[in-house]
């Protein structure tokens, strides 16, 4: 592998032990994946932020690296934490968990990373341009950045993303290379995509058939960025998909042919099997999750419009980025007046909700429907935002 003179210096320790360790990680991964060289990255999103994922060993490691003088060298954001960093008491998070989570965030802050935790960094200013090389963790954000923005990233793990942030580089392999961005599967969508939840449902059907394949969707007439966000999150959770194209809609597909020769074809005529697979839960609902991936301002307003003036029977969490929450104070008030919570920095999957006693969850997210039974020990109902909020009001899944 070719390293520049500066990269050699970083690797040999001339720029200090923290940079050296970062470079060792980046170079080892580049070797494993057969990269010929490294490329500079424009931004990083670090996953593995919740104490639930890191444990005490993770905190020890982050503190050791920070103690060696590790500092990020490019704009860097954090994935959701296990709690709202301000309102964790309101969220019901145990104090000992909160103390550990604060230690994690403090270690990242010592490395120069702002205390902002979100799975939608692209909604709060970490917005790369088409063609930019980036190193992001968080599978849904990776899928969005690659597909909807046209930036280039692999699915980074926590330590590898952080290493890329410290040395400002990543190996040139995988989705950084043109040849790996071509679709190897064409999906002919023959059914109408009418409801918002249809995009998460389509992601479920295709995701579970694919691993790290690149699907190319045909037959989707229109899709908003938020619908594409839901599609990508579901594809990435149910499969290992990191990049998809939508004919006539996503940037690379609009520009040139993105289907590789010999691509196989999958036809989807109905979304029923996806709705069935994600509706194994009970009719009683005690927990409703909206905001997976993190809700945008318009999604928060849509929730507010449906619950304004009502009293909720089930617990409602709308999870979002702090900067997004601050842009919609009236909507936040309406949701909280109804008894719901708008939580920043966090995510249902990485918060300790199992120990809070919830049993039956409703969600409009294909990703949440995938993770919550195993990670949170709850049963699942999946449907539109409207259905989820009816369930929040009545405590029952609408017939």
């Amino acid at each position: 592998m070719d390293l520049t003179a500066e990269e050699q210096e970083m690797l040999s320790g001339e720029k200090g032990p923290a940079v050296q360790k970062a470079m060792e990680i980046v170079v080892a991964l580049a070797k494993i994946y057969g990269a010929k060289r490294l490329v500079p990255v424009k931004s990083v999103n670090v996953s593995g932020v919740s104490y639930k994922n890191l444990g005490d060993a993770g905190i020890g490691f982050l503190n050791e690296w920070a103690g060696l003088g590790a500092k990020v060298s490019v704009p860097t954001t954090l994935n959701p934490a296990g709690m709202d960093l301000v309102d964790w008491k309101k969220q019901g998070v145990p104090k000992d968990f909160a103390e550990k989570q604060e230690k994690v965030i403090d270690a990242f802050a010592r490395m120069g990373i702002p205390k902002t935790c979100t799975c939608t960094p692209y909604l709060i200013g970490n917005l790369p341009k088409k063609g930019d090389h980036i190193a992001w963790g968080e599978s849904s954000a990776v899928c969005y950045a690659n597909s909807v923005i046209g930036a280039r990233t692999n699915r980074e793990g926590g330590p590898s993303a952080l290493a890329a942030a410290i040395c400002g580089r990543t190996g040139e392999f995988g989705y950084h290379l043109d040849k790996n961005r071509m679709a190897n599967v064409v999906v002919e969508v023959g059914c109408p995509m009418e409801k918002d939840s249809d995009f998460g449902a389509l992601g479920q059907i295709i995701g579970k058939q694919l691993k790290n394949d690149v699907p190319y969707f045909k037959g989707i007439k229109a899709a908003s960025n938020y619908q594409l966000k839901a599609l990508g999150a579901s594809l990435a959770a149910w499969g290992g998909v990191a990049l998809f194209h939508v004919d006539g809609i996503t940037p690379e597909a609009k520009e040139k042919n993105m289907v590789a020769e010999g691509a196989q074809t999958i036809a989807v005529e109905s979304l029923k099997e996806a709705y069935d697979a994600m509706n194994t839960g009970s009719d009683i609902i005690d927990f409703v999750s909206i905001g997976c991936p993190h809700a945008s301002v318009s999604e928060i307003r849509a929730v507010a419009d449906r619950v304004r003036g009502k009293k909720l029977k089930a617990t409602l969490w709308v999870t979002t980025a702090r900067a997004t929450k601050e842009k919609a104070p009236d909507a936040v008030r309406a949701i909280e007046d109804a008894g719901g919570l708008v939580l920043a920095d966090t995510c249902v999957v990485v918060s300790p909700i199992r120990s809070m006693g919830y049993k039956h969850l409703a969600t409009n997210s294909g990703k949440m429907a995938y993770y919550s039974p195993n990670y949170c020990g709850v049963t699942v109902r999946f449907g539109t935002m409207e259905q989820c909020l009816q369930a929040a009001v009545s405590g029952r899944w609408p017939a």
């Binding site: 060792e24 070797k31 494993i32 994922n53 890191l54 444990g55 060993a57 020890g60």
Partner: protein
């Protein structure tokens, strides 16, 4: 016998080989998580270095101080931190030797300063052999 592979984490260590031909998943898998705070239960106890998963071919064996020889690794990102926890608790393997590295174990080896070499024909190493790892070289004594 001397074999030259690829240094994933350069270093020097000698120890008794502990070999598993089917040594995948030894750092555990997040999909089987049942514990709320860790979200992850590994195959190996980070406090003792003992492999605690009953289905594992090395169940009951201790990895501490051994040169661990395996085909490839598997597991969630948290697995990197498990290796780090073993190191901090003084019960990490002395070195790692495998056929093909994957990111989880490779990153774990680097952050824990455990020498690691891959692209090695592990069929030539048996449990109990004394193995010396140095840079990209593995010497079986």
């Amino acid at each position: 016998m001397k074999m030259v592979g690829r240094a994933i984490k350069s270093g020097h260590a000698t120890g008794e080989a502990l070999v598993a031909r089917e040594f995948t998943g030894w750092l555990g898998n997040v999909d089987t998580a049942t514990d709320e705070t860790m979200g992850w239960l590994g195959c190996v106890d980070p406090k003792t270095g003992v492999i605690i998963e009953k289905q594992h071919p090395l169940y009951g064996k201790n990895v501490a101080g051994k040169v661990l020889v395996f085909t490839t690794g598997k597991g969630s990102t948290v697995g990197s931190y498990t290796l780090y926890a073993l190191k901090k608790n003084g019960v990490a393997p002395a070195a790692l030797v495998c056929e093909e590295s994957e990111p989880i174990v490779a990153v774990g080896a680097i952050i824990s300063d455990i020498p690691m070499v891959d692209h090695i024909d592990i069929g030539k190493i048996h449990t109990g052999f004394i193995v010396e790892v140095s840079g990209d070289t593995v010497v079986v004594k």
